[in-house]
Symmetry: C2
Subunit: 336 residues, 2 copies
């Protein structure tokens, strides 16, 4: 499946905001949830009430959802989970689905199942964790979790791609007289090869330096904190909560949230390349004040809106220079 | 409060459909929920995921919600409950709220509260019942519950108004020489009065026959069944599920649902005046086939859509003749 998806999909990671309010939904903003689409595989971060509705509207394919990460168990971040799991069941899903979150997640799922008379014919893998670390790891990427500073046990996450092998320089290979065919593949896999004329060619002669992977960090709900900075360290994209404008700093402290200025400070301190603000208090009908506040410190900032869609391109360079990889793209169309 | 609301509100009962799909939401239809607004008091029947979003869109005032009735614990009927309760908490509600449903309701609420670290500062009254009967009773109306036939324990409900006193005939009172003032009030309260000239006047001389109350029945999810017919007996409005067209009769039987034709048969057998179909399978992008099927048997039928709004007028007559009290009215505006 993975290979088939990869073929259909682009190299960009898509970031689709499904809900950008906090606490309660508004007419324009749903409760928190963000989908990442990477090579046809969909990752969901948080799952507020109405997330399945928003997934339908977004064009992100629910069938390709593989991993759901829950930051914490405040209602606005999880009330969409039972409905989403049930709708996946009713769509006759067979692909396994993995859930990641703080302790209690399994108990919650079992309670829903018992209460709502639901069984799942697809495999539901539940990973609860209390400690920081990698909660998911593959050959291509990992997802790490770190404890944030909120009123209850809360984790932020970062999706981190491993470096990709360097580019194979076909022209140089031809100049070196390497015949196209199996020898190309051996060099690409990092093996030295012997040419028909007896010469040896080492992989580094035709393969460029390895290329960096991308890092996308998701920090909500939280006060600005060292763990948030660590998650965002050198990130190509930091998604950070900005519940309040800085004039409500004391309310932010009291409620365990961040102001837009504080979100920008985290991005700055972490050396992130781009910042997207989300999780806005419903008191803000327009979020321009939050955006301006953050941009004053960290210019490469966007304010998320529901169904907003961003792409994080593949890095072009060798990783020595920071590039801005994020761009906002039109919403709509099917993807995932 | 009740009196204040009554002053602000009209004599019609408003019926507002918040969700008209079944199982899973579609782009046009949310999960099951219907609001009744009677003299400024809001009754909610079922609470699928996204009900609080739909309440916001409908103009029904969430602050006036007093009673929530849950038919059964399949996910599509209850997944909106925790979010709604939490949003009411965040709106700093102080008015008590009553929840009615099958056994397990209290356990579910306590689980949500513990899991989601929520407390309610408003009083939450929880009434669980396994037996049929009146689950709510006031001087003006009662709500009765009867067991329907579904795959799990399921109740249908009827809101039944008590008869209202007859009209006070002011002209006749004046012809009888009764001076306007306290004597009018005594007669209206059913007391005999003595006039200044010594004559006695009995209440029935100036007050017409008592006027019937209205009955609105809500039957979902269910096979057509005698309890459904009893709930709908003589109802001014029957809201009945019609998950399938009758060509899918066997699927309806298997899943414990009704076809549109069966819903019409229930209305007919019960002598109901009007029927509104809802709870449509998401397979129907257009519900005209269901509507036509029902109308062939029971002409006074509507098909609900999300945010559709109906009014049930006060009966004009003496109850001996059936009147059609229901009319569809434009959506929008604030009410409740």
């Amino acid at each position: 499946m993975q290979t088939e998806w990869a073929k259909q999909s682009s190299a960009e990671i898509e970031v689709v905001f499904l809900g950008t309010s906090s606490g309660v939904p508004t007419l324009k903003r749903n409760l928190p949830a963000v989908a990442l689409v990477r090579q046809g595989e969909v990752f969901l971060f948080d799952c507020g009430e109405g997330t399945q509705h928003q997934l339908r509207r977004s064009g992100v394919r629910m069938g390709r959802l593989r991993h759901i990460f829950l930051t914490h168990f405040h209602g606005d971040h999880i009330t969409g989970l039972p409905g989403l799991l049930m709708s996946l069941q009713m769509s006759e899903r067979t692909t396994p689905l993995s859930l990641y979150g703080p302790p209690g997640l399994g108990e919650m799922i079992r309670f829903f199942q018992r209460m709502m008379h639901t069984h799942f014919t697809y495999e539901l893998q539940i990973l609860e964790f209390e400690e920081e670390g990698k909660v998911l790891e593959t050959e291509a990427y990992w997802v790490e979790a770190r404890r944030l500073e909120h009123r209850v046990l809360t984790f932020g996450f970062a999706l981190v791609e491993r470096p990709r092998p360097g580019r194979f320089d076909v022209e140089k290979a031809q100049r070196l007289g390497i015949p196209p065919g199996p020898l190309f593949g051996q060099l690409q896999r990092g093996e030295a090869v012997r040419l028909p004329d007896g010469r040896w060619v080492l992989p580094e002669e035709v393969i460029g330096p390895s290329r960096p992977g991308r890092r996308i960090a998701y920090c909500t709900d939280t006060r600005p904190c060292p763990s948030g900075v660590e998650l965002a360290r050198g990130a190509d994209l930091l998604i950070h909560e900005a519940t309040f404008t800085h004039d409500l700093y004391e309310e932010a402290v009291f409620r365990g949230h961040s102001t837009a200025r504080e979100a920008a400070q985290v991005a700055l301190e972490a050396g992130a390349s781009s910042l997207i603000l989300t999780h806005f208090s419903p008191r803000y009908q327009k979020v321009e004040p939050l955006l301006e506040e953050a941009r004053a410190l960290f210019p490469c900032t966007w304010a998320a809106h529901d169904l907003a869609r961003f792409q994080v391109a593949l890095p072009k360079g060798d990783g020595h220079e920071r590039e801005i990889l994020v761009q906002k793209v039109p919403s709509g169309g099917q993807r995932g």
